[in-house]
């Protein structure tokens, strides 16, 4: 099973081109969508989650075990049946308890049988570790607990397509770890799309990723492959604080970091150091990200169709 997105485009009425002919092939497993704020990640998420219309293009969920393909853009009902969506920004009904609201969503997702519903709700609350506080009103939940509630409702009823939009923004490190564990446990025959601007999330979790900016896919592929692609092309140098501006104009800067009081810059150099003083260094996923955004590497590297 995979999600095939072809030439998806959307322009907002104020002229902003949120999606500019985006094409991706997303297999089962964790797919990371990396990009800066305003890149178009949320627009893409919402379009796949049936909340927004695309101006052009197509998206199909293919070869679902036994059943036919689903046209994600047109057959909204079919998508919603297999969808689990955690938006970036959501509220809750403050005076309702976690258990009651989750039960309500379960009912909306089609769990008619009261007993089965109750079991599912409890199991999920256990999973996201909210069982102890299930009777508390959602208005009193902290940010992290709200996120966990959000993922619980997204996981109701065995979704086949899970879309999580910036799930760990605002969570503390411990909560982030917990969240990752939750996601990692999702069955292997599920397409999970995770959008974030935290590169390490993707590095840890995803077996495929794409970098998107200004509505365009810059690179796509497996993390290892993409990193390997950059081997021998990333260089680092420690410089003085005041030299950053100067060096920017001379080399293709990938990133600037403060390490133990020193300014360390990483730069892109094709085969040779960009200038004297740079030493070669093993590339990381972050370098892939910054290099793509900066435009040093382009060409989406499509993952060949894996086994469905």
């Amino acid at each position: 099973m995979r999600l095939e997105i072809r030439d998806l485009a959307k322009t907002y009425p104020n002229g902003v081109r949120a999606l500019d002919r985006v094409s991706l092939t997303i297999p089962t497993g964790m797919f990371g969508l990396l990009g800066p704020n305003g890149a178009g990640k949320s627009t893409l998420m919402r379009t796949l989650a049936t909340l927004q219309e695309a101006d052009a293009g197509s998206a199909r969920l293919t070869a679902m075990n036994g059943s036919g393909d689903i046209d994600v853009l047109r057959d909204k009902d079919a998508v919603r049946r297999v969808l689990g969506y955690l938006p970036q920004d959501f509220g809750v009904y403050p005076r309702v308890s976690a258990e009651d609201l989750l039960d309500h969503f379960a009912r909306l997702k089609g769990l008619v049988d009261a007993k089965a519903r109750r079991e599912a709700v409890h199991a999920l609350l256990q999973r996201v570790n909210l069982f102890a506080v299930r009777k508390q009103k959602l208005g009193g939940f902290s940010g992290g607990m709200r996120q966990r509630f959000g993922i619980a409702q997204a996981l109701l009823c065995d979704p086949r397509l899970v879309i999580v939009d910036e799930p760990t923004a605002g969570l503390d490190p411990e909560e982030r770890v917990r969240f990752h564990n939750l996601l990692a446990d999702i069955a292997s025959d599920v397409v999970v799309i995770l959008s974030t601007h935290i590169v390490s999330d993707v590095a840890d979790l995803c077996n495929h990723l794409a970098v998107i900016d200004a509505g365009r896919v810059l690179v796509a592929g497996e993390p290892d492959a993409l990193v390997a692609n950059l081997r021998g092309r990333i260089w680092r140098k420690a410089i003085g604080k005041g030299e950053v501006e100067a060096i920017k104009s001379r080399v293709r800067l990938v990133s600037t970091r403060l390490q133990a009081g020193q300014t360390v810059v990483r730069a892109y150099g094709d085969g040779a150091p960009p200038e004297p003083g740079f030493e070669p260094v093993d590339p990381e996923l972050e370098d892939v990200y910054f290099s793509s955004i900066a435009g040093y590497v382009g060409e989406a590297v499509d993952v060949p169709a894996a086994a469905a």
């Binding site: 909340l51 089965a116 079991e119 199991a123």
Partner: protein, 1225 residues
Amino acid sequence: MFPQRRPDAMRSAFWSIAWFDFARRLKATSTWIYLVLYAVLAGLWMAGAGGALSSVAVSFGGDKILINGPYALTVAIGILGFVGITVIGSVSGRAVQQDFEAGIHQFFFSAPITKRDYFFGRLVGAWATLVMVFVGVAIGIVVGSHWPGVDPARVAASPAWQSFVRPYLFILIPNVLWLGGCFFVLAALTRQMAPVYVAGVIALVGYLFAVNLLGDMENKMLAGLIDPSGSIAVDVFTRYWSVAQKNEEQIPFAGVIIWNRLIWVAIGVAVTLLGYRAFRMESVAPTLRRRGKKKAVDDVEGAAVGTSSSHAALPAARPDRSAAAYARMLPGLARLYLGEIVKSPRFLTIVLGGVLLVAGNAATLGSLYGTNTYPLTYKVLDVVGGLFNVFVLIVTAIYTGELVWRERDAKMDDIADSMPAPTWLAFLAKFATVVALQVVLLVVVMLCSIAVQLLHGYTKLELGQYVMQLFVLQLSGDILLAVLALVVHTLIDNKYIGHFLVGIAFLVLIQLPLFGFEDRLYLYASAPGLIYSDLNGWGHFLPAVFWFRLYWFAFAALLMVLSYALWVRGREVRLPARLRIAAARMRAPAWAVAGAAAIVFVATGAWIWHNTHVVNPFVSRKEARQLQAEYEKRYRRFFGAPQPRITAVDVSVDLHPERQLARISGTLAIANKSGVPIRDVYVLYPRRARAKAIAFGAAAKLADEAPEMRWHHYVLEQPLAPGATTDFRFDLEYGAQGFANEGADPVVLGNGTFLNPGLTPETSLIPSFGYGEDGELASDRDRKEFGLEPKPRMHDLNDRQQVMQNALTRDADFVDYKAHFCTAADQLPVTSGYVVQDVTENGRRCIDYRMDTKMADIYSFVSARYAVKKDVWHGPQGDVAIEIDYHRGHEYNLERMVAGVQDALAYYTKHWGPYQHKIVRIVEFPRFSRSGGFAESFPNTVPFNEAIGFTAKVDDRDPNDIDYPYFVTAHEVAHQWWAHQEVPANVQGAEFITESLSEYGALMVLKTKYGDVKMHRFLKYELDGYLRGRGFESKQEQPLVRADGAQYVHYQKGSLELYALQDAIGEQAIDDAISAFLNRWKFVGPPYARSVDLLAEFRRVTPKQLQPLIDDLFETITLYDVRAVSAAAKKQADGSDAIELVVSARKIRADGGGNETEVPFDGEVDLGALDAHGNVVAIEKRRVQSGENRITLAVAKGGAVRAGIDPLGKLIDRDDKDNLVAVTR
């Protein structure tokens, strides 16, 4: 170092906040929408009042009031301003609540600005915005006043600028300020908009409550004070202003007005300051305690999860996503929404507001002259239902919006929208919830009404009527409005603008008929009105209502499908995207529903059209007026042409109540009483008569006819010679066929049919002869619209031709009367005359009536299932039978009516002359009948309205209750003398004879039974009625001798002045005059008696020095202004008091328009003293002159507490509170 804050930096924070808010508001579309809408509203109001919109029925009371004069502008600005309470709430509430909603308040609270800057900065910004928005009202007024088509006579050429500025300064802006302040404080303290809505409702309740209080004269002041809008205070203050005053004098903001403003502004200031003190610039965190505990819980569990894998496989649950499964969810979901709303404080407060309003009004249910009626179910529903209806509309409007926006407001919409639940689930559940809310409110109405009934000790609970009226008739209309609200909120992408537009939509729907859009085929949610009567029940009116409801329900179904298709799900709110989504969403079932609805809509529409345009052609009000104008233009030239006069009436009425059918046939003996031969005869009968036969005794041909104007012109082949007689035969059928735009024809009813042939052109079911002036347009404004000159209401007092006509009928003098009246076997047919034969056979009951003497040519036919109460009056010349035909169940006041008849007959026989018949019959008719108002007097028969008198609840123990069933009965009996024995000429002053004398007679009867105190109390109401009525005169006020149909003159002023005459010359003298007048003129005519003849008799019995009084009372419009300045008592040797009174007196003459001049005063006026209980301890007539008078009054009894001039209020004085002062010793 940190720079010191400069003082003016502090000050500028306030101004920059205020200015920023104001500027932001200026750029918001909603602000301009409000402004434009108010301008349009005001403009339409003005243009309509000025006559530019030909079908608009807006009026400030009276056609002579300048629409941009001080009074009219104050009323307009006051009302329009108060209608804007929603806008005030929205703007001032949102000014601060927006910050909390957007979460931006934290920035402000953590910035270096003081609470004062923030609070007052926001408040001032909101105020400035509101003042600007309401400038729209002024713009609209100016534009509307000069709209093409506005009658220039109604518009002052250069209106005083004070007329505009003063209402703004004293009414509108204070309202904006104090209401705005209160709403602002509420929103600031609660950080929500909900309490603001509630407060708005409460303010509305306060206003409605005050309106109701006005009904009782004693509470005028209180009503003026508690009304938050100030407009009732204005009404109270100008209550007795004449038309001239209303047009010229600026309303002084003094008295009750200034007190009202001070009270409410003080409340506003107090609330604002208290709110300011309570306001905290803090960001409220969710309860920290709970949070801390939870965190602890988390941490413990967290570690565990991090390490172990606590997840067994999730239970494999099989989801059921069929339509049936989701359909089963519908009730539960609706119940969920409903429960949430019903338990919320906001809803409960609205309901409570409604209940309080009902409670406040229940005490004075339907009161008349301060007396209540029994809480019959229809009455209670009228009052309670009417008041509560506003709340139902408010709740519908607010909660439709809240429900539509529920998920978006909670920011749950992304999650909810991506669920697999079908769109129709939430859509239908929300709609069902709104309807359920309406049901809840109607249940509250029912419970409140029942409570009111039980509290009044009335146990006849007619639950069937409740169910029908509330849950069938009312609810069906409310559901249609809910659909409208739903559509608006679906289409409009802003909750607050949506609320506003829903409000406007409701208002417009209600007002559209006033603008000439009367055809119900395009008035959404309209249906013909329906009035329940105890006699007729719902009658045959229901089918029409049913058809219209079905029609509009079909349309509503289409609207629902539209709403469903365009329902917002997801982030796309722009129309093109929504249309695409709609196209995809509309599948077979939706199309099927739409298709079926469309078919039903078109089919019922066709059926309705057939009924309301083909069978019963729809005539808009404007078209009806056009017809009247056309009638006058074409046929007026025949006015006064010699026509036959009816000398004998032999009529046969065949009534089939169950089929709503009436067949009226008969023979009229006609004679030529003019001096010339008559060739052309003009016969008038209503359009809806189906003429079966019309024939003259002599050969005649129909030369011309215009049935829609009732006109049929016959030419006699052989002209009727002077003095010759012949007869006229007619056979007409009337009956409901289908229904009209206004509903089914209400003339022939299943029970309680009342045919009144002489009342109006449309009810004159018996043909009449000659051009009838009653078919003309009466209002000068209407006449001008069609190019007709204004006409006086009645012919001039000295018109030589009209003195030969009697005021009751133009085509007869006195006639012989015979009737054969048949109806259903279980009903009693009643008309004038005596029963000659009463036969019931073959399911029909027929009674033959005959009048034994000649009578005036007016009579009525009433038929219903009656119970009969018989009694008798033993008079000096024999017995008079008394019969009351009433609806079983309405036994409340029968004894009073009988007593009224007996006492009236006794008094009138003794003081005026004998009664001419041997029976007095009172017959009850349904309350909505087109044929009558209160009651009317026909020869020996008095039809009496169900809702007046029959269901009055007179509390004999309450000194303030007036026994008006008794009074009205006495009044109607008096008409047997004045109108049936003595018929006046058809000129001005006719009603002075008929109505004033009857009112005076009833007053005397009341006094005889209930005493002076009650009588004076009644006269107080009469005085109020007269003074009030003057201010709404649309032509010219006339003195009594020229009374021309204005009720406030011939009823209220008449009784006051006749009593004043009696008081001056004594009862004996006035009796002498009246009975002499009666003896001279009874059964005489033509020529007929005129008011001057009555005045001649009065002059005959009045001593010379009191002759000027006759001028004052009857020949002029005279007002007095008497005032007590001081009253000093000195004890005399013999123990009595000598009170030295200083009083001032003025006498004023007014012209027809209300312009006044002072004239010298020299006459006799009561001076007297009252004790602590208000009883008179001394009263005598003394000579009083203009200016200050010193008079010493000897008071034999002690205990004088207050003394002064005219203590009993016999003079027409606009301020009778200053007649008395405290006695100083």
